[in-house]
């Protein structure tokens, strides 16, 4: 976030739509990384991020500058993701593979170029991703915000519009639920987990 955000917002409100493109470029990846964990696949995530930006664009007048622009944007994106998820009623994506989603590609780090490493990472991500997708939207949201984004309870409470105590208990329950899902998944795996 920079003070320049405000300049871009002012330009948008003055009718210079291109300025909004700059704001999109700045924050699209941060939002995408959060949303992809919430909605379960890259295609839906892309749609949600786009809708979030369009909502934000229409609502620019309501951004009063009393919070960071990204926080405001983030709130819109998280809530768009939650409602999108509910609308689509996508309950389980048990076998979401990288090739199927088109978005869960293993990190292309050259350092980890040993054979099998990328595959392990992809498998690990898939498992976490699948487990996340089986949580309720509320539990998934707090986990992603805290453990992926490192948001503070206070900010999370503001974004989700619930008391801090609710954030804490929800996060606790979400972690336990994720733990159970992952453990059960492992039980269901034949011999794969031991290689």
């Amino acid at each position: 976030m920079s003070a320049d955000d405000y300049g871009l917002i002012a330009s948008c409100l003055a009718g210079k739509t291109q300025a909004f493109g700059e704001l999109v470029t700045r924050y699209q990846d941060r939002l995408f990384n959060t949303v992809i964990r919430m909605v379960g696949n890259s295609e839906d995530a892309r749609d949600v991020v786009q809708e979030a930006f369009l909502n934000a664009y229409q609502s620019l007048h309501s951004f009063k500058g009393d919070s960071l622009f990204f926080t405001w944007l983030y709130r819109i994106a998280v809530n768009t993701a939650i409602s999108y998820r509910r609308k689509r009623k996508v309950l389980l994506r048990l076998h979401l593979g990288a090739e199927e989603s088109g978005g869960i590609d293993p990190a292309d780090s050259s350092e980890e170029s040993r054979p099998g490493h990328a595959l392990e990472l992809a498998e690990e991500e898939r498992r976490v991703h699948d487990a996340l997708s089986r949580l309720s939207p509320e539990h998934r949201a707090v986990l992603v915000m805290k453990d992926l984004e490192g948001q503070k309870y206070e900010d999370m409470a503001e974004i989700l519009d619930v008391p801090i105590g609710t954030i804490r208990s929800r996060l606790h329950r979400a972690r336990l639920e994720l733990r159970d899902i992952l453990a059960k998944d492992e039980e269901d795996l034949p011999e794969k987990g031991s290689d």
Binding site: T17, Q18, F20, G21, E22, V24, T25, Q28, F32, N33, R37, S42, V49, Q50, L54, N55, Y57, Q58, S59, H61, S62, K64, D66, S67, W72, R75, I76, N79, I104, D105, P106, A107, E120, L121, E124, E125, R127, V128, H129, P137, E138, D147, L148, K152, Y153, A157, L160, D161, V162, P163, I164, R168, S169, R170, H172, R175, D180, E186, S194, D195
Partner: protein, 348 residues
């Protein structure tokens, strides 16, 4: 074995942390996140000192906290912004200016100006029409979209330090219509005691009905109390709520937790009327005469208050002290609010 499996396996054994309560585990979760008060931290450190199980649970949580960091970073294509702009153009979108707030009509300036009245009722009469105070755990935030400001504002008392929350509340309180505040509290009697104390600290004279006084003396946590106020300024209400909000974050015993602001609906107006409290009309010619008793000899101070008796005790509004107050209240001052406050214990 994949790391994620190893990490979560360590937590899975259901018997492993059987001695830890949910509260303990929740505290440890907050401890890992570094999100706790000094008091909670002290309690957690004590727990960790005492319990090997707690220490093991903490170790696992600390490992798990890094789980998501293992996940790779994803990017959208560079042309995404262009695509968004194309969508904006295709849909003909533009920033929508918020609808202007209703102009704050100037109240007629009445001779005699300000009068404030606070009435407190106690009982269950209100229960049937009690609006839903949303379960915080059900709360999913609403989008910030350019719809008109909502007519129902919900927030936690603890959030009354946030400028945007305060501003939202201020805007709602400054509406012309009579306002209803539903306060979710932990202990009904402690909450009304504290609320009355705050009213007094803010120089409100308060008259309490005998039944309300008796109920307060019983110190029952589940009793629901009702306060009706007239002539109070929005800023004064806001200030009092913030004061209670500050206590909600500290060691306050009253347990003010949630706050819902709505317009005073017709049902509850009727309820009030049944209690003998008729809302004063803004126009002098429409002013409701609450009773036919002779005018009381009370002076008409700038602020004073009356407490109603219980609904189960006949027509409480016709208790002599209440009657006297109602007859002596002054016409509403400009900017003065009509406010119904309902304090509802969580267990009610």
């Amino acid at each position: 074995m994949l790391r994620v499996q190893a990490v979560w396996n360590s937590l899975f054994d259901p018997g492993r942390f059987a001695m830890l309560s949910e509260h303990d585990k929740e505290l440890l979760t907050a401890f890992v996140d570094g999100e706790m008060t000094a008091r909670q931290r002290k309690a957690t450190l004590h727990l960790l000192h005492q319990s090997s199980e707690a220490r093991a649970f903490l170790r696992d949580l600390q490992e798990n906290a890094h789980l998501f960091k293992l996940l790779p970073h994803h990017s959208l294509e560079f042309s995404f912004a262009t695509h968004v702009l194309s969508e904006i153009a295709a849909r003909g979108l533009r920033p929508i200016a918020p609808k202007p707030q209703r102009a704050h009509r100037r109240w007629p300036v009445w001779a005699g100006a300000a009068a404030a009245a606070v009435l407190v009722a106690v009982g269950l009469w209100y229960g049937a029409t009690r609006p839903n105070i949303a379960d915080p755990d059900d709360g999913v935030a609403k989008l910030i979209l350019p719809e008109p400001p909502p007519r129902k504002i919900e927030m936690a008392f603890k959030d009354l330090v946030r400028p945007e929350k305060i501003e939202t509340l201020r805007m709602e309180l400054k509406r012309e219509a009579p306002v209803q505040l539903d306060l979710g509290v932990r202990h009904g009697t402690r909450a009304i005691e504290r609320f009355v104390q705050v009213l007094k600290e803010n120089k409100f004279d308060l008259v309490m009905s005998p039944v309300a006084v008796a109920s307060i003396k019983k110190n029952q946590p589940k009793t629901q109390y009702v306060v009706y106020a007239e002539g109070i300024k929005a800023e004064e209400v806001l200030s009092m709520l913030q004061q209670l909000g500050n206590e909600a974050r500290g060691k306050g015993q009253a347990g003010f937790e949630s706050l819902v602001v709505t317009s005073l609906d017709s049902q509850n107006r009727q309820k009030l009327s049944d209690q003998g409290v008729n809302l004063q009309q803004r126009n002098a010619s429409e002013k409701t005469s609450p009773a036919k008793t002779k005018a009381p000899a009370l002076p008409s101070p700038e602020r004073f208050a009356v407490v109603l008796t219980n609904a189960t005790d006949g027509r409480p509004g016709f208790a002599p002290e209440v009657q006297a107050f109602l007859d002596s209240r002054r016409e509403l001052n400009p900017g003065g609010m009509q406010l119904l406050v309902v304090l509802t214990p969580a267990v009610a």
